[in-house]
């Protein structure tokens, strides 16, 4: 008989389940302004404390505090607020469109709007983002991306730039620095590093921005990305959006219990920050810091954005089955739009009237875009890319077997 106690398998559980409140003390928050801002040439090993604390700028009263408060004018913040509002309104409208069966599927980024929009504004033209399916803010923050075209993608209609080949939300906008989204999680994280290595190989000045969620950090490509980024000092920002949930699994089951995702970066020799993802100013400042490091040949930065996935994982998900219904309201970092709005109002650079007017204007803009996109058809109503287009772009030039298969299909269609 063994002298030892029987071993027990540890399976992490969230404190909150339907009917039980979440205890958010696991987040280990810092106060606004409390965390230091090192020089951009800080050694990765000197960022250890930053991986376990939380960079925050905006306090509960909407004041910008501490060394991370970015030197930006109110105009840029208004632009950011507008981009966040646009993203939220777009999401809400597309969610309805999905319920109305105008589109087959949708994924919101409700509550996470600050992260993608602020980083989009901190990047430069020519930089390439490698997003997941929840960074629509990268596109909606830009004025040069046509919302109608985005909705055409959602509708898989005849103006869908992806020709109906991709699920809704799997956008691709090379000209806007937005890499083609894949359904396979984490694959883009290492690809971003490769893109950044290419920029360095060619002596370019462009940088890459990689995106991954908390759950997907468990994928092998998360590790390969960190290793390659570190080994080759690739000019890349490695963004980990920790929204606490991967569909139904709490971030602890991804490996977040009693540690942080930022700490992984330090362990791999990458300068790392853990940042309030609902604080637009902090997101902008940290993104700028990381972008400057990358652009100055100082290497990669990993940033864990602490946020909360307020909405359902997707239109196919019902979060009330695995987490408390009022969880988002209790999340201690609040709402990114409300917080930036309060700050701008404190600066005297925003008002309830302006907010309402902007809300209405954006609602009208999104509504009009949806209406226009609907004119080009939808999956439900037909008018999609031709079936023959299904065979294009598998290869650069269509091989004989695909030409033959296309002919077979066309013959079949002409019989009908």
């Amino acid at each position: 008989m063994s002298q030892n106690q029987a071993l027990r398998l540890h399976v992490p559980e969230p404190t909150g389940r339907p009917g039980h409140e979440t205890d958010f003390s696991y987040l280990h928050l810092s106060r606004a302004g409390e965390v230091r801002r090192p020089p951009v040439n800080a050694l990765p090993s000197d960022t250890g404390d930053l991986a376990y604390t939380l960079v925050r700028v905006l306090d509960d009263d909407g004041l910008a505090l501490g060394p991370w408060a970015p030197q930006v004018d109110a105009q840029l913040l208004q632009r950011g607020l507008r981009a966040m509002m646009k993203t939220r309104i777009y999401d809400a409208r597309m969610l309805i469109a999905q319920r109305q069966k105008k589109i087959s599927f949708y994924m919101q980024c409700l509550g996470e709007e600050a992260i993608a929009t602020a980083q989009a504004l901190a990047l430069q033209p020519g930089d390439m983002c490698f997003p997941t399916y929840r960074q629509q803010g990268l596109l909606l923050a830009r004025d040069d991306v046509d919302m109608v075209e985005m909705i055409c993608q959602l509708m898989s209609n005849e103006r869908d730039p992806m020709k109906g080949r991709q699920l809704p939300v799997m956008y691709s906008y090379k000209r806007a620095g937005f890499f083609t989204i894949s359904g396979n999680l984490a694959t883009q994280f290492i690809q971003a590093v490769g893109w950044a290595m290419a920029s360095a190989i060619k002596g370019d000045t462009k940088i890459a921005s990689a995106w991954i969620g908390d759950g997907a950090t468990a994928e092998a490509d998360f590790h390969t990305a960190l290793t390659f980024a570190h080994v080759y000092r690739a000019p890349v920002i490695l963004n980990v959006v920790n929204n606490q949930w991967a569909i139904s699994t709490f971030q602890a089951i991804a490996g977040g219990e009693a540690t942080t995702f930022a700490a992984r970066g330090v362990g791999c020799g990458i300068a790392s920050l853990r940042v309030d993802g609902n604080d637009f100013l902090a997101v902008y400042a940290a993104s700028q810091w990381a972008a400057e490091r990358a652009r100055s040949n100082l290497g990669p930065t990993l940033i864990e954005w602490v946020s909360y996935r307020v909405g359902a994982h997707s239109t196919s998900d019902d979060p009330s089955r695995y987490r408390p219904a009022d969880d988002a309201a209790r999340f201690p970092l609040g709402d990114p739009i409300a917080r930036l709005k309060a700050h701008l109002m404190r600066l005297g650079a925003w008002s309830e009237q302006e907010h309402d007017a902007t809300q209405k204007e954006l609602e009208a803009q999104v509504g009009a875009a949806l209406k226009e996109a609907e004119r080009y058809g939808s999956l439900a109503a037909g008018h999609m890319a031709s079936a023959a287009a299904m065979f294009d772009d598998v290869y650069k030039d269509m091989p004989a077997h695909l030409r033959q298969q296309r002919e077979q299909l066309l013959k079949l269609s002409s019989c009908k």
């Binding site: 020709k163 080949r165 083609t180 894949s182 490769g194 290595m197 290419a198 294009d392």
Partner: protein, 336 residues
Amino acid sequence: MQMTMIQALRSAMDVMLARDGNVVVFGQDVGYFGGVFRCTEGLQAKYGSSRVFDAPISEGGIVGAAVGMAAYGLRPVVEIQFADYFYPASDQIVSEAARLRYRSAGDFTAPMTIRMPCGGGIFGGQTHSQSPEALFTHVCGIRTVMPSNPYDAKGLLIACIENDDPVIFLEPKRLYNGPFDGHHDQPVVPWSQHRLGEVPEGHYSVPLESAAVFRPGADLTVLTYGTMVFVSEAAANESGIDAEIIDLRSLWPLDLPTLVASVKKTGRCVVVHEATRSSGFGAELTALVQEHCFYHLEAPIERVTGWDTPYPHAQEWAYFPGPARVAAAFKRAMEA
């Protein structure tokens, strides 16, 4: 000049590194050391470590980074040390490289080449002998290519690097230093004594989707590639059966007209590959011949392949489809 397959492959990379500033070469031990098979020897010294460099031991990382580089506009030529070790990169190959052009409707592309030494006959055991080509030919969006000699190796590799589709370039390591006909008890003849060891120094290419009639014949058609080209040749010579040996070179997409023309001429077909039998690439070849040559066939299509087992170490020559097994299939096809 005379080159081994190793030298021919190195020459192809040398030529392309010199011609196209977007070509980069990397993988495990590929840089300073010049590769465990010497295929990249001297390239880092010649082109610098930003063009030719060592990579961490991470197949998923190597291929994933190459996809990102290709999306940027480079033309990466990466190496997986043994084909047996590509599996960690499966997701990047199947879900990403192969689909980038399609899913983005041409917005992003992946012009990249993944070199993998493959095949057995070297006492490589389970993880240094596999022939995983069927796992690639089943993936739409990639090309799978395998040379059988130095001339084709260089010309095909240049064609693959220049091609805008992602390519899996399988190199039969048994053929690196000389042709091998399966007679393991006989001394190996070096490429310097073979007509196909004569390789031009400069740029040339062998077109993709084009098979070669390696040995013309009238009795039956052999559809094969890699090391089995030479095994089939030995089987033909030893059995006295006038086999027409087709070296596919491009496995998929392939050169169907050349295959069909040969089988329609001979009326008999034997498919030969090292890879395991069930759902191997031979099944696709057999199906294609059946579809396109049914009324010309005078016998059932034979398949000579590796057994449906992992590649063993001690039982190497009982596993490897040598000339005796291939010749027996020739006889069956002739007698049917």
